[in-house]
Symmetry: C2
Subunit: 287 residues, 2 copies
């Protein structure tokens, strides 16, 4: 066991799902003592069995001696935190979160706690819940912080150190920029993909639908994967990254209408250029 | 080596790319003697080295004794076949193709050859060209034939036997139905995905684009994969499956506008139902 940096000796994690549970596993191997707060007794029990935290409990008092508390909760609970959650956080602890939309969380939490640092560790699998946490989830993945002028610099350094120790690639940008980028790259694809599922699932004659099912292949599977995720998460992203997502959807509607128009009007040379540019754009993005 | 059925003793394949080359490999292991016709001398040479056919040549005369000839050519060369191609086909051989749009090919080839059977083996990888052919590509994949009233029944049986021997799941439907199904399930996703790449690649501020590149993850990779395929294939599909694709794009534009409107108008309950239905629809499709 390595010796953990002073500020990270006692780390609290609120919520032990995929992100919280994975953090618990990794932080323990870094030598931190991890205190996991769960909503239900049964989850605390299972967290102990899985070794997600040295201490796992539904009792908020376990957080009292923590120098850092990570809020690994669903987006809605971060944007609209309960009084109960606010009251259990030690006044002198550094607080960070893992929410995937940053502007509304930053705005709310800057008023709640002077040592709040907005974070978005960008890692995940398709699993969720108490069984989902796994080691090394954050390794080589972006960990975005979105400090504002209210953010305490020492607290920010501690969270940057935490991200660094977990093997993440640290990115620090303003919250609006973060939200626009994830709207384009993470949230827009969910709705594009869901709209494809809606198109094939609705209003098609049954015989056509049967044939379509028989011939659906990897291209269809890939393009629809992200559209079939957790509906609650989809709604929360739409709700809390509203402006950036609506703007991304507007740009997308223009793009798809432009492609449709090229096809309708038999503009094959222009269609080919567009498809060539798309191909280049992807290799540029995922190089 | 198994003994091949009589009609499949001598099989010609025109074009030894992914589909033609894979057919060559599998048919040889079934005991067929395979004659591969290529456009270029260098490709014929490489086909011999890779063992894609016992005989590989640019000389059309190699097809003279074939009882079955498979046209494994790009869509455009199937819809608008050259005089040269038409002239090299033996009058008494059964002819089939591998084109991914069936109505226009069936229409054209029914007039060219009395023993033409329209086929679409629905298998593929992201590879193309003489190096792409691989064994067992068609195993457990759909092989669609689209016989019309002009289709010779004996010829059709032979092609069904061929598909069966290759381990494919045989599906027989009319050409228009096939084209509508693949428009929805295979061709529409290409343009949906390309439109996403167009949206992120165009008109975004450079700093946002840089951040988006840093945080792009597996969801973005999955949703854009099929949009970054061969631009020529995309154009050919749009050209030759025009009506069905335009109709699929129109339905899709309605779906995405509907989702956008739910989001713009904060209709969260309806958005959640829609996302739930999409999730169900996908498991129904890919069960």
């Amino acid at each position: 066991m390595e010796s953990s940096p002073k500020d990270l000796n006692h780390v609290g994690i609120v919520g032990l799902g995929l992100i919280g549970g994975s953090l618990g596993l990794d932080l323990q191997s870094l030598g931190c003592r991890v205190y996991g707060l769960t909503h239900r007794e049964s989850t605390a029990q299972r967290a102990k069995e899985r070794g997600l935290a040295q201490v796992a409990s539904t009792d908020p008092n376990i957080l009292l001696n923590c120098s850092v508390v990570i809020l690994a909760l669903p987006l809605s609970q971060l944007v609209k935190p309960s009084k109960e959650l606010i009251n259990i956080l030690p006044a002198n602890a550094i607080i960070t979160d893992v929410g995937s939309v940053k502007a509304p969380i930053t705005k709310v939490w800057n008023k709640i706690h002077p040592l709040f640092v907005p974070s978005h560790p960008m890692a995940g699998t398709s699993n969720a819940g108490i069984e989902a946490g796994e080691r090394n989830l954050f390794k080589n993945r972006p960990w975005v912080t979105t400090p504002s002028k209210e953010t305490n610099q020492t607290a920010l350094s501690t969270i940057h150190e935490l991200a660094h120790l977990l093997g993440s690639q640290l990115v620090s940008v303003d919250a609006e920029m973060h939200d626009q980028a994830v709207a384009l790259i993470s949230h827009l694809p969910i709705f594009i993909s869901a709209a494809l599922l809606k198109t094939v699932g609705e209003g098609q004659p049954p015989s056509l639908l049967e044939l379509a099912k028989t011939v659906a292949s990897s291209g269809f599977a890939d393009t629809t994967r992200i559209g079939a995720g957790n509906p609650n998460l989809g709604v929360d992203l739409a709700k809390y990254n509203h402006e950036a997502l609506v703007q991304a959807l507007s740009s997308y509607c223009l793009s798809i209408r432009e492609l449709k128009s090229l096809i309708e009007n038999n503009q094959w040379d222009q269609l080919q250029s567009t498809l060539k540019e798309s191909k280049l754009s992807r290799s540029d993005f995922l190089e």
